[in-house]
Point group: C2
Chain length 343, copies 2
Amino acid sequence: MLTDRQLIILQVIIDDFIDSAKPIGSRALSKKDNLPYSAATIRNEMADLEELGFLEKTHTSSGRVPSEKGYRYYVDHLIGPERNHHGLGIIESLTNNGIFEFEQIVQTAAEALSQLTNYTSIILGPEMFEATVKQIQVLALSNQSAVAILVTNTGHVEHRSFTLPKGISSSDLEKLVNILNDRLHGVPLFKLPEVIQNEVTSLMVKYMNGLDSSLNWIRALFTHEHAVKLYFGGKANILMQPEFNDVDRIRSFYSLMEREDEIVDLLKNTNQGIKVSIGHENEVDEIKDLSLITASYHIGGGQLGTIALIGPTRMEYKKVLSLMQSISKEMTGAMDKWYRDKS
Amino acid sequence: MLTDRQLIILQVIIDDFIDSAKPIGSRALSKKDNLPYSAATIRNEMADLEELGFLEKTHTSSGRVPSEKGYRYYVDHLIGPERNHHGLGIIESLTNNGIFEFEQIVQTAAEALSQLTNYTSIILGPEMFEATVKQIQVLALSNQSAVAILVTNTGHVEHRSFTLPKGISSSDLEKLVNILNDRLHGVPLFKLPEVIQNEVTSLMVKYMNGLDSSLNWIRALFTHEHAVKLYFGGKANILMQPEFNDVDRIRSFYSLMEREDEIVDLLKNTNQGIKVSIGHENEVDEIKDLSLITASYHIGGGQLGTIALIGPTRMEYKKVLSLMQSISKEMTGAMDKWYRDKS
DNA sequence: ATTTAGCACTCAAAACAAGAGAGTGCTAAC
DNA sequence: GTTAGCACTCTCTTGTTTTGAGTGCTAAAT
């Protein structure tokens, strides 16, 4: 329903605004190469585009600025074929020495993403629900203390130090660990608390006397929220954006960034693929004037994490989208390669 | 050299400014209870105090504001006996279930510190230099991959996933781990790279053939910077301070917060006890208009970490100092209790 | 039937002006 | 030594004017 000329004008306006952050007027537009029309003509078109809701004015006699609907249209229809970012190889370079360090990979990716865009990136670590117990070990550090270590089939390690119950013997401890390994091997993490409750407790009461209290730490070790973790990149970078020249906006942004559970919610709810939420399309008040791009990365085909980027609605969508695509692909690749052969 | 009256006036001015953040004039001061003098008298005293360098004016006819020298004097001489913050019990409540989770303790302490003050707190994790190797384990996850786990005598666990060298047999792997445990048990972390280089390498070449390349990951696992870690609390809280009403100041602050190595340097160089650095007493440019309080906490008597608090020079020194003292004592207590019996 | 030139009009932002208010320094009286 | 009084200074607020970019509309040109 938009004429070709309107399309071009819309595109040029948005492109210009994305990089200048200033409203643009008809006169300036008419000077652009791809718009061989007079200011007056463009004015008319702009008035139409405004009527259709793609543009806005900041005041009655100002230049035009893209509306959220404008950005939406831009993202959906005006972004060309993403020029291939041909894999930055950031992640690859981290794994090709044979070492696979999850935290490092994710953190590096988050930082790179922010560095390249000057927005703030957030990566949601994978949920470990489906990982299963590979081995449990308890290592005494002294007469009173020990550390318990749990390794999953995916190579994740959890550990917890604790004080030993009084009077426990090393043979008791060994027995205990044996029971645990016997019963818990292969159990997925999310079922752990349940299995411990139902199967292990009774066994332990049977074979070991007077150690009820010691069960606490076992439960604590394994009930531990296998919480998804957030990795931030360049929380400060976004401050370079002129949109953040206002102290209150900064405050509200950073206060949101500290409420990690809200952020997790924000990112979790993502289906596969890339999703762009512009301004008020976002649920959370604090980012109703920002845009949020999320992309998922998959591991092992099922579990997934999310890569996100937050910036002003005036975002370099073209660049960002192809970049996110690349990184998400790279992450998925690295994860796949690593997790593929783990049963 | 200061008269009693000047002392009181100085104190009142600083106290007032600390909580109002506004310059205070002679008239307002003369109305305070503990200053039964006329505005004119106080004006004279203030002029003297300014001449001595304890006060400043923001412009020729403004009220007075404490200078850095003023704050220094305040901190050194005018702060009364710290009312005992009688241990907030924050940390105790985390450990009395028998579980000792280092990260959790430190993170909680950092957050509490910031919460209670509305400044930003940073805690420098302990250096693990003196911890010694307790056990090394390598667990195969599949034919191609494994995870290596290192436990120290203090209960710290490091781990690293990696791809197995092609053609390594499980008996080779076992042999390898035996060698490692045999040679590395009891070796302090900071000596690890050296010992591996000198003792282990030759042994391995001797007993295992063709596995030179596999040494890479061993070295990588243990050479891993046992970097001290930073724990931040309330990076956003400091934004509530009126001093941070300026966007550029915020930018420079946050950009510093991201340069973690600089921060580590800043905190590392601390002798025992509490240290207050006011404004230009700080080395780093970005905080030359802020104050930094550092306190150390000790573990095992030797190694130590640092607790720090950053706020405007107009800081509630009285409250902060006693608070830092409490927390540092609590941390030291918890650590001591935990690490005492580990050889 | 488009496109364009011309012109009156609008509004934000910058520049300027006037007052008010808080505070000082100094002098002279207490 | 202390205080009252007063002239003076400087910021901050408020209101006014000017400027300039940009619009909408009408009428002419294509």
